[in-house]
């Protein structure tokens, strides 16, 4: 009960005076809900031919049709389910690995730390995008599940280092020593005393990785490394490109998935920025503006009185 109260209290505090966070959350929530409600919002099947090829937007087909005569509107809704599932799964995998490795390494130190950081650093020096392309090419055309796995398993090292350095800072705080002196078990110190102090970092990392995964997945699929029979935002771009939509003037074929990806990316980026502002007070701007406005209002009120 107190946990729920604190959770919602935290949310209210997060969004108050934070327009970037509100707008970002609204965009992401809107797209997410639309994709989840796809069966309600459309009667068509994303894989079925419903019209002639490359029909422009009309009342019938709000976003037109693809070269193969499929409904772009329906595809973008159903494709979003796949793209977002991949993005959030990859973000979950990354965050869980980064958190476990970072916190374990930072808290225990010594040999454990040395070994874990050696692995992390090796992973870190691999340039990521080429690695992804090679992996995907090596595995052949990969489905969304494999893409989520590849993205999740390759993007944690940087996050692990951030978590580790933050854990190191917390570990030296006296409340951790106090818990140790108290006879608290090590796992409990990690889970109850350390991790709650990392919440904003974890949230930021999750959103940041989701943002990266949306782009990386679209990129891989656009390059033809994904499974083109699965409808997602990336494969929609791939088909638009391979059917020369740009040259025949069927702009809707690539503009629609492109715009959704950009919107989703923008929304996530806005959330990410506002989380950064919370965890790093130096970046905070809105609060000072508000204080300034309050002061100005007070001064103005005094002036008008006299």
């Amino acid at each position: 009960m107190t946990f729920a109260k604190r959770f919602f209290g935290g949310l209210v505090k997060f969004y108050r005076g934070n327009p970037a966070g509100i707008i970002g959350t609204m965009i992401v929530a809107l797209i997410l809900c639309a994709c989840l409600a796809a069966p309600v919002l459309t009667d068509n099947d994303p894989n079925k031919r419903v019209a002639r090829g490359h029909q422009p937007p009309s009342a019938e087909l709000p976003f037109g049709s693809t070269r193969a005569g499929k409904d772009v509107y329906t595809q973008v809704l159903y494709g979003g389910r796949v793209s977002l599932l991949v993005a959030f799964s990859a973000a979950t995998i990354t965050t869980v690995i980064a958190l476990s490795i970072g916190v374990t390494s930072g808290y225990f130190g010594g040999r454990i730390d040395e070994v874990m950081m050696a692995i992390t650093n090796v992973m870190l020096v691999f340039p990521q995008l080429p690695l992804l392309i090679i992996l995907a090419a090596f595995l052949g055309q990969v489905g969304p599940f494999v893409i989520a796995l590849i993205l999740g398993l390759t993007s944690w090292p940087w996050g692990a280092r951030v978590m580790r350095s933050q854990t190191l800072a917390i570990r030296n705080k006296q409340f951790i020593t106090a818990a140790e002196v108290m006879g608290e078990a090590k796992w409990r110190i990690i889970v109850v005393e350390i991790i709650p102090n990392l919440v904003s970092l974890v949230a930021g990392m999750f959103v940041g990785t989701a943002l990266y995964a949306i782009g990386a997945q679209a990129g891989l699929e656009f390059l033809g490394l994904g499974d083109p029979t699965v409808v997602s935002w990336g494969t929609m771009l791939y088909w638009a490109q391979s059917s020369a939509a740009f040259f025949v003037g069927a702009w809707w074929d690539f503009v629609v998935p492109g715009t959704v990806i950009a919107l989703m990316g923008g929304g996530l980026a806005l959330i990410n920025i506002s989380i950064d502002q919370i965890s790093n007070p130096k970046l905070r701007t809105g609060r000072y503006l508000r204080i300034w406005r309050q002061l100005k209002a007070q001064v103005d009120a005094k002036r008008s009185q006299s």
């Binding site: 006296q174 409340f175 020593t177 002196v181 108290m182 006879g183 608290e184 709650p196």
Partner: protein, 325 residues
């Protein structure tokens, strides 16, 4: 129920440089012996870097002595590394830290900070019994209204109030000994006395204190016995009144003359040479104060005498008083 925490000949080394061919050590505590008894306080006085916190942490089992033994009622406290052994020990010996802003977890309520120690050491208590106990403790350390305080977060409390929470936490496990590491040095002067008096009450109720400070005046106010440390060595110890009114070791005299006092004239101020505070290693010999001492002789560079009892229960380690050849 009286208990007895005993430190015998304890030395503690830190590894400071670790190269392929050699490891260098810093000796933070060198052959220290003292006893803590329930219902009494021992003040450890010394400037920063003299090893006071290190010895307190060793007493909490956070560090293991390089040499020597620490015993609680005759039992070696470092004989088992198991969590259960730490818990048994924690139930008797607790610590209070210097920084009231670092010793409480910012994401947890005061209730959480007291619930855990009670729960760890009394796993059979019910939720409502624990809650009653929490409120009792908060009342006892002067944080009424307890119910409201329990629901607060650390940032809603002042430094002095947080330090009271830290004391309540030590009481929550039912500790017999509390190691207080400069508990008031970061508080406003106006609230220091309140905390000291609270600790005095705890002492009257039978808790034994080790009171670490660099302020010799509060040592005399609060503690029955005082030990003066310099660079890891205990140089003078005994009844607080005797040590502070009649200091014999040149370092203690220097320390006391540094305390501003209205009635003391300038001319009586003890002076010392401007010397560096040495870094002690396991190989170092002699008296650590030799470089700054006005009475230092050639012998001081190589020889640190054992304790000499200059008055009943008042000991000094200095060649000036050493009767041994």
């Amino acid at each position: 129920m009286s208990a007895h925490l005993s430190v015998r000949d304890v030395s503690l080394d830190f590894t400071i440089g670790d190269t392929l061919f050699s490891t260098s050590y810093l000796r933070a505590v060198n052959r220290v012996s003292f006893d803590l008894k329930t219902g009494q306080a021992l003040a450890i006085v010394g400037e920063s870097g003299s090893g006071k916190s290190t010895i307190a942490r060793a007493l909490c089992r956070l560090y293991t002595p390089t040499q020597g033994t620490i015993t609680l009622d005759g039992q070696d406290v470092n004989s088992s590394q198991a969590l259960s052994a730490q818990r048994d020990y924690a139930q008797k010996v607790q610590m209070i830290f210097q920084d009231p802003f670092g010793s409480l977890n910012p994401v947890h309520t005061i209730r959480h900070h007291l619930r855990r120690p009670i729960k760890i050491h009394n796993p059979t208590l019910s939720v409502s019994e624990i809650d009653t106990k929490i409120l009792e403790l908060l009342d006892r350390v002067g944080l009424a209204p307890a119910e409201q305080t329990a629901n607060k977060y650390p940032y809603e409390l002042s430094g002095g109030q947080r330090q009271r929470v830290a004391i309540a936490r030590a009481l929550a496990v039912g500790a017999q000994f509390i190691l207080a590491d400069e508990p008031i040095s970061m508080l406003d002067v106006s609230i220091r006395l309140g905390i000291l008096n609270l600790m005095e009450d705890m002492k009257q109720e039978g808790i034994g204190f080790m009171y670490i400070t660099h302020d010799i005046a509060t040592a005399r106010y609060f503690a029955e016995r005082t030990a003066v440390m310099y660079v890891g060595h205990m140089v003078e110890w005994g009844e607080s009144d005797s040590v502070t009114q009649n200091p014999q070791h040149p370092y203690t005299q220097l320390l006391i003359s540094a305390v501003p006092q209205a009635e003391r004239r300038r001319s009586t101020e003890t002076k010392a040479k401007k010397g560096d505070i040495p870094m002690w290693t396991p190989q170092s010999t002699g008296c650590p104060f030799a470089g700054r001492c006005l009475h230092a002789t050639a012998k001081c560079e190589t020889h640190m005498p054992g304790p000499t009892e200059i008055a009943p229960g008042h000991f000094v380690r200095c060649v000036l008083f050493s009767t041994a050849p």
